[in-house]
Point group: C2
Chain length 411, copies 2
């Protein structure tokens, strides 16, 4: 399925997510770009399903993103069509015709209006997407919809991903069991500004669209918006959440409902796990790295410093080389342009203090630090000593694998 | 001399820069980090030499940068000491003592005050610099000062550079021949925000320090501040200009003097050539790339978009793969966050139009574009169609060489 070796950080097994009442799906081979693998996902929702979403902030967003932006205020969903292999981005009027046509095919197959259809495309930018290929495919897929297994939709939306990404949560609210299932794809071009590559989350919780939207917008910040693989923000980033409302419980109509917070926390858990899986499948990744910044003047400043460190090619190549090169961390703090006092800086790799008061720590232990750097999951903590602002950004290392995947070919 | 293969973009020969009256130099081996190569430069200036400089904006600037920042307002220079192999950055109070001591050694050897001594250090961050090693070295070097050859100082300041960088200009003002000589070092950690790694320019033009400073600050913008190798801004970026004033001509006392513009243009030519040489020695570089953005709402917006493209790992790896992947250029335009209208975008590789009106150009010629991408010097032009803002940023490709240089080792 994947042209490149499976990430060494791939999970050993995948969760067997349960059926969620009100949602069914089928995958198919449209042959848009890939051969001998599924590249289309049709997901259908029963009437009454609410929808929310967070979309890329790219100024050059794809036609499918524009389509979702138009339909999201309606807050209702009956169908989702995702294709991999072609992003339908930067395809001009052809792209707009293509999403319109795809939505019409889907609406016809499902017997709903195009306003209730959501679309996402991922893959090559700039190639016109031949929507006509979807015609028979969607009709046929609509005849064999199932509630499981969820790994199939996760596989159909992959591009350079080396493993499918799934996460689920079960929560009990007032004695009723509520399910949240999520899938995601993403490997390169990962630096979400408002969303990630593609991720779809489904729940049977009855929840009003504006509440779902508020929870999604809130919890995307410390999940998908806190990861970066290569600092490149996609034209297609799309996170959509659908709530079928089939759980036998009173609907959440307002953020003031105390259940909103409980549900939101479970939603966050799913978003966070999917975001971390995306980092762990970062192109060429061999290590997962958490960059913690604390003691900043405020959280936003801490985030910008953490992002500067996580995006620094010199920091990322040093980590690939298992080199606790805290000098490069200092460099990245310095280039962030945020308040920082060199002579108050402290830096830890894991629990090991390597620098404090602006110079190498007196008790610096080279052997222990080297041993720590051989691990697969690393943590770098920068203490600025200025205030109480804190943030964490998750990233991976930068290796020959990234260059091979993105540079060693002619398209 | 260099641990890595010489850049394929290295010049075939080096200019034999002329002696400049009022400046002499010697290089030496202090053995700070490198063995069997020069790693210290002592440059001396006759009395009456004016000085100007542009320093890194990093919040974690090195001790030597701080030293220069203190001395620059004085505007007078008698000596410059540069060492390679140790940046004396993030070395706390030890770093401050180290620069003080180095300046005292130099001032004693040259018979001047420490306020007239300028310092620069480049190399590893976070290692204390043992200034005591300079004591005998500077005294000895002061006994064998010469006016040529300029390639020796250019070599002594190298770190991961694979070739020395020199540039000179000769200009005629009112029948008097004026010389400008410049050297630079830089290969990685190159994303100058106000200056580049290290560069030193010397002229015999008599020019007041404030005028020299104004010209330097102006012309750094479209030279050193318009290049990026890896988006990482150094803690040590230092550009210093020294004017010995030995040319037999009335001094330039004000920017209103029409000769300031003529001299400034020649100064720019030297800065620009040194900046391009730095890109051509970018770590792992195999191609030099100019990113032109035109039709932006203003020049600053054009610059930010050009920088986003030039810093994008996906754009840079595509160029390494000789892939005219304009989809990634669109992505980078989109992530810059600047005004852009996807459906007005046009993109050219060299003179070849690949996209217009937000989609692939009708006359797109795959074969011609592929042939163009095999070249060593490439140009990517993005036309936004919004206004008259324009900017150019110079960069290089991102290859396995960069990963090897920065990641394949344990320090």
């Amino acid at each position: 399925m994947a042209a490149h070796p499976v990430s060494p950080l791939a999970p050993k097994s995948y969760p067997d997510l349960p059926a969620i009442e009100g949602v069914r799906f089928a995958t198919a081979e449209a042959g848009i770009k890939y051969k001998n693998r599924t590249d289309v996902l049709l997901m259908t929702f029963d009437e009454g399903t609410t929808a929310a979403g967070v979309l890329t902030r790219s100024k050059c967003s794809s036609a499918a993103v524009d389509w979702c932006r138009t339909n999201l205020p309606g807050g209702r969903a009956r169908g989702l069509v995702v294709n991999s292999g072609n992003a339908n981005a930067f395809t001009g009027s052809k792209g707009r015709e293509s999403v319109q046509l795809t939505a019409e095919y889907a609406a016809k197959a499902l017997g709903c209006s195009t306003e209730e259809i959501f679309l996402a495309s991922t893959g090559v930018i700039g190639e016109p997407l031949p929507a006509a290929k979807f015609a028979g495919v969607l009709d046929e897929a609509a005849t064999r919809l199932n509630q499981t297994p969820w790994i199939e939709p996760a596989k159909a939306i992959m591009t350079t991903d080396t493993f499918p990404k799934l996460s689920g949560a079960l929560l009990d609210i007032d004695g009723v069991s509520i399910k949240i299932n999520g899938i995601a794809k993403g490997s390169g071009m990962i630096a979400p500004d408002m969303a990630t590559m593609l991720s779809f989350v489904v729940t049977d919780m009855p929840i009003a669209a504006p509440v779902l939207q508020a929870l999604l917008s809130k919890h995307v910040q410390k999940s998908f918006n806190s990861i970066t693989v290569d600092s490149d923000t996609s034209t297609s980033d799309t996170l959509l959440a659908f709530a079928t409302g089939k759980a036998k419980i009173d609907p959440i109509q307002s953020l003031d409902d105390p259940r909103a917070e409980i549900f939101g926390q479970a939603l966050f858990d799913v978003l966070f796990e999917l975001a971390i899986l995306t980092v762990r499948d970062g192109e060429g990744a061999t290590k997962q790295v958490a960059i913690n910044v604390e003691g900043a003047t405020d959280d936003a400043s801490a985030f910008r410093i953490a992002k500067a460190i996580a995006d620094s090619p010199l920091v990322k190549t040093a980590i690939a080389g298992e080199d606790a090169n805290w000098g490069r961390v200092v460099m990245a703090v310095g280039k962030a342009g945020e308040p920082a006092d060199r002579d108050r800086l402290a830096i830890r790799f894991g629990d090991l203090l390597v620098a404090e008061n602006g110079e190498r720590a007196a008790g610096y232990d080279e052997a222990a630090t080297s041993a720590y750097m051989k691990g697969e999951e690393l943590e770098v903590t920068v203490s600025l000593g200025l205030g109480t602002g804190a943030a964490t950004v998750y990233t991976c290392d930068l290796t020959h694998g990234y260059i091979t995947i993105n540079g060693d070919y002619r398209s």
